[in-house]
Symmetry: C2
Subunit: 528 residues, 2 copies
């Protein structure tokens, strides 16, 4: 009986797994964003869907692979890879040189605004590359796509989907000024307990933290109104009707957020939001022989894995030496992804690699700690394998990410600009030797693994759902039909206050009238 | 290879299905609430958990069955079944005689307040029945429960769990005045697009609807403050420390809401909320021979299924005749669950039954429509099988339920008090003959069936999760640590306004000072 049930169940599952063979269009973003979306692309192909990816000719990180089910549609843009590289560099440097402390918050947002303006110029050229390419648009129309998956860092995925008359989904970690989630997606972020993006705050805020958070939200709202409004005319011009960026972005069927409650602080959200953090995580594969031998040679001390990600190519010589001399003083062996000149202070325990199999190393039983630049992908791999972290955040969401891991007790942060060798050494020793960090990392790992359904399966489920049902309108909240003053019930409260005021006015007038009429008559009578 | 994969998958599933053999305590509610929780209880037993249910000696609907894994702990209360029956009757009559129209909303809430006061008296006796029963509490402590599942209509499930030092979960469709969800659970219900409970509104509201909704929310907030505050002292007294009902209720690990987006209008919620609507639904079983023959005799016209649920025992003779004469005029055969005197106008096409296998009938291919009192359980069975509805709502959430089904185009409502035979007849004809109702019911059915995981499996998953991890604190939002003015950032805005005011004051003072000092000197000089 049990066997029969199991076989029946297996049959159902294999039927569920049957491909729909749909056509999916991807609007990707560079760098680690692409690496994350690529996992969804691979899974879709595994389920026999055909996937096309729109790639700008100036793309930096998107490597074109050959696969009959995966087509890269290259479109021309009037810039080369160096423009994207320059943008990333500006973004990194601005963030590294400015942090939103209570005294510098205004300057921080001023500097960020400069980079964002530049970014929007490039983004507009990227949009033009597709929207003004008639041949490409015709080709896309003929390809009969059923859904578009968009990374919203570069706008226009939405407008492309709308012009192709297909539903679309966003996949994002966050968007600048919370444009896509808060302003257009209508996620309510109460500033009293949900830390603003780039604020580096946690959900446990003191009174001054809450003031900072409140100001951060309002400065970001101001930035959104200043810097994103120009997209309204771009969208209106392209669609040939008066519209706004938010009206179009708000038409998304779903928002995939690349975090989960193992990482994020709980906050209110909407039914068309799915948290798929760590969808790229997978069990570790065996290491190459040379690496495995080095790792095994660490004995019971184990190893430390160290990488600052793919965006940072070279550290200064001085900084490399500061780091290397700290690493030289720990009993662990260290695997360091490092592409610059070999530091002079490099210890015998440390080996440099141009590339390391990060996930396989983090999943190795001998790994004791992970020194990371705090990219979401890397942090999720550490959570998946339960490895405590030393965070050296550089830009983007990385400072927010390490704030989360610190608050959950699975990491310690060091500041790349200001750290000394002994800072890094002491931090590393603490993370490796104080068992609480490992315990907390394991706790996050258990939460991550113990979900009703794996994040990648959920992402693919909802993409297929939207293909099957041609959308997911049943998840769309009615707030999208309201203006800001209607949503905040300002018209209703205004009307009710007016009613109360009129009532008080009339009652007062009546009383005065009665007093004047009858009061005076009474006085007169009394006098008589 | 495929076979090997399928077998591996089946093995994984059978391992996942391995029992934890935990001990679960249930704090149930009467009527259809119990029927719904019973499905979870049965599934927990199937997974080899031991379940104990706390049942008051005056319980009305909870039938005690014999099963070694299911224990009914009976506790004494100073009232009999007739008290519960009386309460239900009062509640039904108050709701039937009062509807929250714009002109009667104040009276409606006044009448509801009377019933709620009476209800709280009974609820307090129920709580006393357990909390003041030292032997029972000792026995429960010794039973080493790992989790308590509470229906919060009767308070105290929470306090029992806290005294036993075990985590607890709520299972609810809604709570009066949104106590458990909004006030204590901190779900943000924006009055601009989320209809208040018992308001009979939808998410598409006109300006006047939004005024009504706004007032409904505030009247319910007022009711909560008036009628639920007495529980604060009850809880404080029992726990021997100053506390509030909401502080205790807010300690729940999770809130299971017995709806889903096939039924509900999308609204913002929190990560510790799981929507498990329709968890009791299952495929139809074959009908008993006599019933099947009657159903088959309907030919291509099919049948109509009619029940007003288990709470309503007898309709008046007059009302029964109005209904029967309408039913007599349709070509369909009708199966009517009816316990009163046989109506004189009963047609040959209509058969009366003391009980009908509702789910099996709704799942029968010959069923064309469902006449229902709009209980959530029944509506979910209709959604599951894609059957359009004629709603005759009576009390509780039933008016809200039919408002939802009407808005989604799967039902029409008739008013039991005011309807004539032709009203019911025309409504029935419309629902049966206009294909849009069937199409919309099927659309809801497809949404219901196309979820990443079945609602019952999700409910059981999270109960087991909480047993495995001794809670789900990672899903708990920080709002629970804030006061209402902190949550609304009133202290922050107050402080910032004070800063701005001080700044303006100082600048004005400085200007005045400068003007007085230098302006006058200048004037003096000019004069000289």
């Amino acid at each position: 009986m049990l066997n029969k049930n199991i076989l029946l169940l297996a049959l159902q599952i294999s039927l569920l797994g049957t491909s729909l063979g749909g056509n999916v269009l991807i609007w990707p973003m560079e760098g680690s964003h692409w690496l994350n979306v690529k996992i969804i692309v691979d899974e879709l192909i595994k389920k026999e869907h055909n996937v096309s990816v729109l790639v700008a000719s100036g793309a930096l990180f998107i490597t074109l692979t050959s696969n009959p089910s995966l087509i890269f549609e290259i479109y021309k843009v009037p810039f080369g890879k160096e423009r994207i590289e320059g943008l990333i560099k500006d973004f990194v440097m601005t963030r590294m040189e400015n942090r939103p402390s209570p005294l510098t918050i205004w300057r921080f947002y001023q500097e960020m605004a400069k980079v964002i303006k530049d970014f929007h110029m490039v983004a507009r050229e990227v949009c033009d590359g597709v929207l003004k390419n008639q041949n490409l648009m015709e080709k896309l129309k003929k390809s009969k796509f059923e859904v578009l998956v968009s990374d919203p860092v570069f706008p226009c995925g939405d407008i492309i989907a709308l012009k192709l008359r297909i539903p679309f989904i966003y996949s994002l970690r966050f968007s600048p000024a919370s444009t896509v989630e808060k302003h257009c997606g209508k996620v309510p972020y109460p500033p009293s307990y949900v830390p603003a993006i780039l604020s580096e705050l946690t959900d446990q805020m003191s009174f001054t933290d809450r003031i900072r958070n409140f100001i951060s939200y309002h400065l970001q709202d101001y930035m959104f109104n200043m810097l994103w409004k120009s997209w309204d005319s771009y969208y209106s011009k392209d669609l040939g009707k008066r519209t706004t960026l938010c009206e179009m972005v708000g038409k998304a069927e779903m928002w995939f957020i690349r975090t989960y409650w193992d990482f994020e602080f709980p906050f209110p959200y909407l039914p068309n939001i799915e948290f798929v953090g760590g969808l790229h995580c997978k069990p570790a594969k065996p290491l190459p022989k040379e690496l495995e031998e080095f790792v095994q040679s660490s004995g019971k001390d184990g190893v430390v894995v160290f990488t600052l990600g793919s965006m940072i190519k070279n550290l200064t010589e001085e900084k490399s030496n500061v780091i290397a001399s700290a690493l030289a003083q720990i009993p662990q062996k260290v695997l360091w992804r490092h592409t610059g000149k070999k530091p002079e202070t490099l210890g015998a325990n440390t080996r440099l690699y141009e590339w390391i199999p990060q996930n396989d190393l983090l999943g190795h039983p001998k790994t004791r700690a992970f020194i990371t630049h705090c990219g979401t992908n890397g942090i999720y791999e550490a959570i998946y394998h339960g490895v405590p972290m030393v965070g050296i955040p550089l830009f983007g969401d990385q400072h927010d990410n390490i704030a989360r891991m610190k608050a959950k007790g699975a990491a310690v942060e060091v500041d790349l600009q200001r750290m000394t060798s002994s800072d890094l050494l002491n931090t590393l020793k603490a993370v490796i030797n104080n068992p609480s960090y490992k315990e907390n990392a394991m706790k996050l790992s258990r939460i991550h693994h113990d979900q009703p359904m794996k994040p990648l399966d959920r992402a693919v489920f909802w993409i297929e759902f939207i293909m099957r049902h041609k959308g997911a309108k049943h998840l769309r909240p009615a707030i999208h039909n309201l203006t800001w003053y209607q949503y905040n019930s300002l018209d209703v409260t205004g009307f009710l206050l007016a009613c109360v005021a009129t009532f008080i006015f009339l009652v007062t007038k009546c009383c005065l009238f009665c007093y004047c009429k009858f009061g005076k008559t009474a006085k007169k009578k009394k006098k008589e």
